[in-house]
Amino acid sequence: MAIESDVLVIGGGLAGMMSALAAAEEGASVRLISYKQSTLRQASGLIDLLGYLPGEQRPVVSPYEAIGALPAEHPYAILGVDRVRAAMDRFDTTVGYDGGGAERNTLVATHAGGYKPTFRTPQSVTPGALADGGAMLLVGFDPITDFDAPFAAAMLTEAGVPFEVHGETLPFPIEQASDAGIGRFAALIEEDPAVPATGRTLRESIATAIGAVLGEAERVGVPAILGTQESASIIAELEAALGVPVFEVPMGPPSLLGSRLEAELHAALDRAGVSMELGNPVVDADADARISTVYVEKNHAQIPYAASEYVLATGGLVGKGVGSDRSQVHEPVFGCHIPHPADRSDWYDDDVFGAHPFARFGVRVGGDLRPQTADGAIEYQNLRAAGSVIGGADFAKEKSGSGISIATGVAAGTAAAEEAA
């Protein structure tokens, strides 16, 4: 006895979700099992296709063109630019991000004063694009320590952005315990309570305070804390009060932009009829040349799930789809081969931002996205891989993580559904 479906996707991150969506849209019955919430919540919420070629210092302007220059083991090279483009088209129709159909990267400010090439942005981020546009005011809030607006503005100026940019730090209008978390600020902004002794609501107070320092600025950037579900209307309200576009600066973990993207994808999966189970890991499998059943562990019990085709989208070192100990690197669910140097002192570069081999650890796949053994044979006939569990790319340096997840996810899901039919 097992819980059955045509396609079983293991891992509910961006790759797993796109994979499940693609498979469902091909008509397969799809179940998605995820041990944890997706790492989208730790990432900026931007969709990076390809920001930097390996070894290059200048950001890529046209990622589809640059794909041709990637090494052969890179997932984009394995897929071919046509499949990458098709996957991005599917993303564009699924999620309401800006830039749909565009071929060039945009540049956005990071909360640490850097600038980042990215391919698709949520609507709340877009007006902050650095390629052009009017004078910019960045606003930080005390005591939110992750974003120092004056410092970020100074670094952007030094980087040579083609407009004036200034930064101001304002006290958050409602006094909080000094270790209140990002979630708390976002919840308050969404709730919009009255600010004691002012006769104004929180958002009105924020608008007023920003208005007082707006000066000549033609757009205003704030850290990405503008609510969790109603950010669009919150932004509209601020823009109406200030008379200029308002944008969010993506932050690191916890990333509200990432959570919002995750919610949007869950809604799409729901509409597509995908069954989802979150909270328990796949720990075992019955398999020979094909996988017949996998076992999900709930405390001490093991629940069987069976499918015709499986997609492994368990993530890389962060998502724990790639594990390691002092002497080896492994893939913990099915034991797929992960190429790596035998000596762990060869796993890293001495420079903190050097070319780290560990950043490229993952399973090796061919054009069919099926993981291969050390000899190049197929591990399991009905298993495909998607996302950062696939090796061969340093997504952090390249700024390519979400693109790889989307492209390989769609390809794997589509192929799995076709096989299962």
Partner: protein, 571 residues
């Protein structure tokens, strides 16, 4: 001498700083120069052990006696730098019974309080000890924070008129008429921005006497004066665990060997160590086998170490010295006793005294010896008071307070701050505005960081060692940028960025040796945050000249309304 002599001390480790404090308290004029941050040398890379002397009680009883005496003194005068964890010498079945008895007898002979307890009793104290530990000897080992200790000494010295200069490198010793008369230095080396003392420039500092307290670098300084000081530096690894698996210092009760001690220190347990002679105290191989040896061997005492997470490993270089005629082959045979080398007697070169050998636990006594020596030379009749006077921060303070009520801090955070700041806690933690936590792993608030910046300048590593910010389990992944944000309020953006990069580089240096399991996942997350989200790797000079206009922008500005906005134009 009618006027007060001016003494120059080279070396800002525990010895040098201890000398500066001692002399300053005796009213002598002191200038101390240090090429890096205070504790740059061996002091900043020691194990954190406040010796009871037990480790020397069999083979080096002179050292052992010095240790127990100083142990008692430091507990009193350096209370906020010391945690009296207690220590155990544990015996496994394969460890020689004879040695166990020798150790016990040796402790007693040296006046080190020692009791025998059973394996069961030892496991009651330390539940993670291996089940087959048979018995143990209790001794009064403790944990000491060398950074805090040295900073406190420096503050006291400065309060009594001493001049301290960090990031100041000695480029030459000035010799005139066959005597050392001073030093030539370059200020502001190896650091962005502001430091303690002068930020830049060269200077000749004249002195009535120069003390060479440079530890493993003693030979280099000697060369500048043409004297030979044969220091035999020997490296040792220390592996830092993510948590404190033990709250007591655990020593292996067997004849000296590698990987025989675990020292709890702040929020971590530190495994040590190896003993390999090296040629250069600055450049030596950091080898994987040393880390593996620590884990595998010490897992015999505390089995959970085998699978536990390490967050970094670092190496320290012992400044070993033995008189040339002894000529030991095995560096582990070299005594840990210290030697005062009066170059007037030894090398016909007055004006210079070197102090070599020794260990941190006896720093105060070493300093007293040198200070006595200097005072004798100049007929100064001032007694040493360093054993009685508490260090700044170690005055009366209590950890049992309502931190929320007093400072608006949660009790574990307030407590950690107070442990670090000691009697300065009130002064530092009373703030006007919000006081957010910057480093959550080690409970460091904005107030503490700004205080450290005020003391140490713009070197974030100097700030780090004072506050422990970025020394916790994420190793700066989540707080390095916050620390930079705090620093940006005190200095210019370029200095801040350089300091930030230095901090990241320093944190990476130790984490390279912890890249497996949970910590490899942490490092990958840190890398993803810092490169993909923050784009720290491409900031600044790295990618100057980016053509912003070539990228997709906002497009022609469109008025927005409440109903929505125009999406950015594609191309």
């Amino acid at each position: 001498m009618e006027r007060t002599p001016h003494i120059v001390v080279i070396g800002g480790g525990s010895t040098g700083i201890g000398v500066a404090r001692d002399l300053a308290l005796r009213g002598v004029e002191v200038t101390l120069v240090e090429q890096g941050n205070l504790t740059h040398g061996t002091t900043g890379r020691m194990h954190g052990l406040l010796h009871s002397g037990g480790r020397y009680a069999v083979a080096d009883q002179a050292s052992a006696i010095e240790c127990i005496e100083e142990n008692r003194i430091l507990r009193e005068i350096a209370g906020h730098c010391v945690e009296m964890t207690g220590g155990l010498f544990v015996k496994r079945p394969e460890d020689p019974e004879e040695y166990f008895q020798e150790k016990l007898a040796g402790c007693r002979e040296c006046g080190i309080p020692a009791e025998v307890i059973s394996g069961a009793e030892a496991r009651q104290m330390e539940p993670h000890l291996a089940k087959d530990v048979e018995k143990a000897i209790t001794v009064p080992d403790g944990a000491i924070d060398p950074f805090r200790l040295v900073v406190a000494n420096a503050v006291d010295a400065q309060d009594h008129g001493a001049r301290i200069e960090t990031h100041t490198r000695v480029t030459d010793l000035l010799v005139e008429g066959g005597a050392v008369v001073g030093i030539e230095v370059e200020h502001g080396v190896d650091t962005p921005g502001t430091v303690i003392g002068e930020d830049s420039g060269t200077e000749r500092i004249y002195a009535d006497h120069v003390i060479n307290a440079t530890g493993a670098w003693a030979g280099r300084i000697g060369e500048m004066a043409g004297v030979d000081i044969a220091v035999r530096p020997s490296k040792g690894v220390m592996t830092v665990m993510n948590i404190r698996q033990v709250d007591t210092v655990i020593n292996r009760c067997r004849p000296k060997g590698d990987a025989d001690i675990i020292v709890p220190h702040e929020t971590a347990a530190i495994l040590g160590t190896t003993d390999v002679e090296v040629d250069d105290p600055e450049e030596y191989p950091e080898e994987q086998w040393e880390v593996d040896l620590m884990i595998d061997t010490l897992a015999e005492l505390v089995p959970m170490l085998r699978e536990a997470r390490t967050i970094r490993s670092f190496w320290g270089v012992r400044p070993l010295y033995e008189p040339p005629e002894v000529a030991s082959e095995d560096p582990t045979d070299i005594t840990r006793d210290f030697f005062l080398l009066d170059h007037a007697d030894r090398d016909d070169l007055p004006g210079l005294t070197s102090i070599v050998g020794g260990k941190l636990t006896t720093y105060r006594q070493m300093a007293e010896t040198i200070a006595d020596h200097v005072c004798a030379k100049f007929d100064i009749d001032a007694p040493c008071v360093t054993a009685e006077r508490p260090l700044p921060g170690s005055g009366d303070f209590t950890l049992m307070r309502d931190y929320m009520e007093e400072f608006g801090l949660r009790s574990p955070i307030g407590r950690r701050s107070a442990e670090r700041l000691g009697s300065r806690a009130d002064e530092v933690l009373e703030t006007d505005g919000p006081n957010p936590t910057i480093c959550a792993c080690e409970a460091v608030t904005r107030a503490e960081l700004q205080d450290a910046i005020g003391q140490a300048g713009s070197d974030l590593n100097a700030v780090r060692i004072r506050t422990r910010s970025s020394m916790g389990n994420c190793q700066g992944g989540f707080c390095a940028h916050r620390m930079a944000n705090e620093l940006s309020k005190a200095t210019d953006p370029m200095t801040t960025e350089a300091a930030w990069d230095d901090l990241l580089a320093e944190r990476w240096r130790g984490q390279r040796h912890a890249l497996w399991g949970e910590h490899l996942s942490q490092v990958m997350l840190n890398y993803a945050m810092q490169a993909a989200t923050q784009c720290r790797d491409t900031a600044g000079a790295a990618s100057a000249g980016t053509d912003f206009g070539a990228f997709r922008g906002v497009g022609p500005t469109v008025p927005t309304d409440q109903a929505g906005r125009e999406p950015a134009h594609g191309d």
